[in-house]
Symmetry: C2
Subunit: 121 residues, 2 copies
Amino acid sequence: MTHQTVSHPGLPDDPYANVTAPTPSCPVEITLAALQGRWTTLVIREFLRGSRTFTDLRHALPMLSDKVLSDRLAHLTEAGVLERHRQPGRPPRVHYALTPRGHRLGPVLQALWDWGSPASG
Amino acid sequence: MTHQTVSHPGLPDDPYANVTAPTPSCPVEITLAALQGRWTTLVIREFLRGSRTFTDLRHALPMLSDKVLSDRLAHLTEAGVLERHRQPGRPPRVHYALTPRGHRLGPVLQALWDWGSPASG
DNA sequence: CTGAATCCCTGCCGATACTG
DNA sequence: CAGTATCGGCAGGGATTCAG
């Protein structure tokens, strides 16, 4: 088998595809870094379902501690998945929302779901 | 917004979608577990390119230590991504190949690549 | 050639307590 | 309500050495 174009366009031909070590600039690493950490995908799922505030998420994921939830929200905001908005007034409310980029994680999670699904062998 | 079917079929309606804690039986967790660990996606990429033996991978990924490479091959074999075949004769050669399930990781890596690619901003 | 065994170091995650 | 501060346990991963 010589070098041929396979059915996965981006992978073999993109310049980043030639890295020989894990580097943060590799697109695959960037995505995995965004999804990295326990609870992260479940938090994203709650946003896809419509959760908006810290308390929403606490009720949806009761086993998740405040500290880790806070870490995840900060991490996902840093990764460009979420936007953070402080609502003025009392009591203080903070509103989180998926960015357009965050919404595009839907197909990614779907691909992960499909491969891991028992029906998919 | 009431409960409606969104454009990501598997996620909201599957029974596993209702987990409220990270569980190994969740399809998303299964896939992330298979891809977990430094160097893992690069090893898979080398198999998609045609690498077959321990030495092939050592040459393709010179910064990867023997121990970690061995760990990754065992882990991917355990996850059903690779098949391990001992070649009879001397010197001992071991042949690895992607399983059909392993080949199906192509679209998954593609989805990860696409989201993380700068062009997809 | 293809790993397995061991050691050490680092970073994640959970629990608890505290703050504007 | 929405976090931050701190501490400790544990597992991941790198280097080195040994084995079939």
